[in-house]
Symmetry: C2
Subunit: 367 residues, 2 copies
DNA sequence: CTGTTAGCGCCTTCAG
DNA sequence: CTGAAGGCGCTAACAG
């Protein structure tokens, strides 16, 4: 192994111009100024009641005067605390996510509320795009500089994160919080996707649909959603296998448009009498809508269509969104993940948030 | 001053379950294993040629075997290096931005390419939402943990950042890179907004427009854009004051819709014979379009309209974008900011990227 | 109530 | 070519 020397250029005159040459203030400096020992300074600044009130006062004043900032010497503090096994919060949460999620409203809505919750508490976010190409953990995480990790990704990548995390020394290891995908030993923040399946199925059944098709593998935990669909059928005493046809899209087809067309054609072949399509995501719903029209099944006249997530509106003639969908509480998911991360609970916890049905114009009784 | 004890819960059994109890490996551990002094280990791992080749080999093997990770003990290294005034890169870039920018395509496009460039180089991003409500610098920045800061904000907030930065001890202070807004002593990455003004004005003049109205204070550095407009007129030997009417919107009006309506009414009153409107942003353009229609001046029949930024499409009847605009290289801006930050140049540098005209359907010759 | 000491892990200088 | 010692700034245990 090789420790690469990766030096930073020293702050040059360009930045020094007009900038004060503030030195690094240490406890010793304050001690010298007040005329006490540095450990007394340490105790005074921590509010140790054993220090005489007057001394504490003088020390605090000196610290303020010198501009002492405990944050500056966090490194030394962490080093020292390691001796006794204590860990101090750095007010920093790591967030790992794949590149693909940076595009699209889905992730953005969670991300923004996550950032807001973090910033509100005066924490910071260590963001890293985490792909299989970059499987390593950020140095700050390895160093134990973060209070917790939040990871949003597919199971395989999450497993890689856990493996990497297992390799960091136990005292520096921090809790992991995943979004949507449960991982053993990690906290989980998710939406009730089973309920999402039940609600969408209930809506279509209430409208009178009896042959419904869906794609089983497109979004996070699609299987949970499909299970919910089947559970709703079962709860009504109906045969899931008869009323719901779920097929998987072929992930080997790189082009999304083609992939959707291919699975749609298979679905329609398997259930030519289907009257409703459950799309696993709004984005896909929009595309399915066009594909269905091309196949002589315009939505909603000849086919009802439901999205999921309620993130990407399908504008109708009036400009408003016409897509019936299941709304996920994305903002709340981001917030809950942030709050859980800042709590950094010693024991893994699971938070499941409710979803809600949004009935709009793409669903109607079958003709 | 008070150093608040902000302890983290120790990693509990929940996380330890199935997790190896990896200890923190230090140079001393390797030294013990190989039977040499820890300073020899240090030298060997750094590739110091003075160490005997065989010894180096054995030390490296031992390090690998124990799973030594230099990142784990960065804190101690930084502490020690402080003695000699050296600074080591943490592969970490701070990014400060206001909440408002997290919504909308404008920021997102820059942000994603910024993150991608950073991640590609195996760096990380320390993200903080920086508002006037949270004027302090992240502890990691104060501690000198980042290699550079990138800040995207309005001049007042940027000034606050510089003030806060001036207060951090000189050896821990890192270079600042701003986007769009030049600050003395900081690097700048921006688009050629003067050119944006010239190009949009040139386009309208070429179409035959002679009375053009615009808003002077809505986007970043609007004044530069307006100056460009005037420069184009001057370059053609035309009187800027006669052909261009620029007014400021009233920032005290909280509702954006109302604010735009108010300035539009003033503009139309000041130049009733105007045939074209230059909107400072695409988002505003979309709203101006509706406001103009309401005022009996439909775009483009009775009024030509240009956006700026080319971020928010205005869908036409065919679904495609119909808004003529000036495209800013937002992805490139993000990338350049990232690269500049990772270079962390000692001397401030300025990067100005070109913009380009996008002619679409909202501009046509005056009738 | 306050001072002294040792040590967290590393790097560097000085000895040998 | 390798070892020993000192110190970065902090905290905690031990003296007084």
């Amino acid at each position: 192994m090789m420790i690469t020397a990766n030096r930073l250029p020293a702050s040059g005159p360009g930045y020094a111009a007009g900038m004060p040459n503030t030195p690094v203030v240490t406890l010793q400096h304050i001690a010298d100024l007040v005329g006490v020992h540095k450990s007394t300074v340490h105790r005074a600044l921590r509010g140790d009641p054993r220090v005489e009130a007057g001394t504490t006062e003088r020390i605090r004043a000196a610290a303020a005067q010198l501009g002492y900032d405990p944050a500056v010497n966090q490194g030394a503090r962490a080093l020292s605390l390691r001796k006794t096994g204590k860990v101090e919060s750095n007010q920093l949460i790591a967030l790992l996510f794949p590149v693909v999620f940076t595009r699209g409203a889905y992730f953005q809505r969670m991300y923004v509320s996550f950032m807001e919750a973090i910033s509100l508490a005066r924490y910071d976010v260590l963001a890293r795009i985490h792909d299989t190409a970059v499987p390593s953990l950020p140095p700050s995480v390895v160093r134990g500089d973060v209070d917790a990790l939040v990871a949003l990704n597919h199971p395989k990548e999450l497993a890689a994160v856990q493996t990497a995390l297992a390799a960091v020394p136990a005292p520096l290891r921090r809790p992991l919080i995943t979004l949507f995908t449960p991982m053993p030993g990690a906290s989980l923040v998710t939406a009730d996707l089973h309920q999402a399946g039940r609600l969408s199925m209930a809506h279509l059944l209430d409208l009178g649909h009896r042959r419904i098709i869906t794609v089983a593998n497109m979004a996070f935990r699609s299987e949970e959603r499909v299970e919910g669909c089947r559970a709703e059928l079962a709860a009504r005493g109906m045969d899931p296998d008869r009323h719901l046809v779920a097929l998987e899209s072929d992930k080997r087809i790189p082009d999304e448009e083609q992939r959707l067309a291919e699975v749609l054609d298979r679905l329609l072949a398997a259930a030519p009498d289907a009257t409703a399509l459950l799309a696993p995501q709004d984005q896909a719903a929009q595309k399915f809508m066009r594909l269905l029209a091309e196949r002589g099944r315009p939505v909603p006249e000849r086919m009802s269509l439901m999205g999921c997530d309620d993130t990407d509106p399908v504008p109708g003639p009036g400009g408003g969104n016409i897509l019936s969908s299941i709304a996920l509480p994305l903002e709340q998911l981001g917030r809950e993940a942030a709050n859980l991360a800042m709590e950094a609970p010693a024991e893994p916890r699971t938070i499941v948030l409710p979803v809600s049905l949004r009935v709009r114009a793409t669903t109607r009784p079958p003709t």
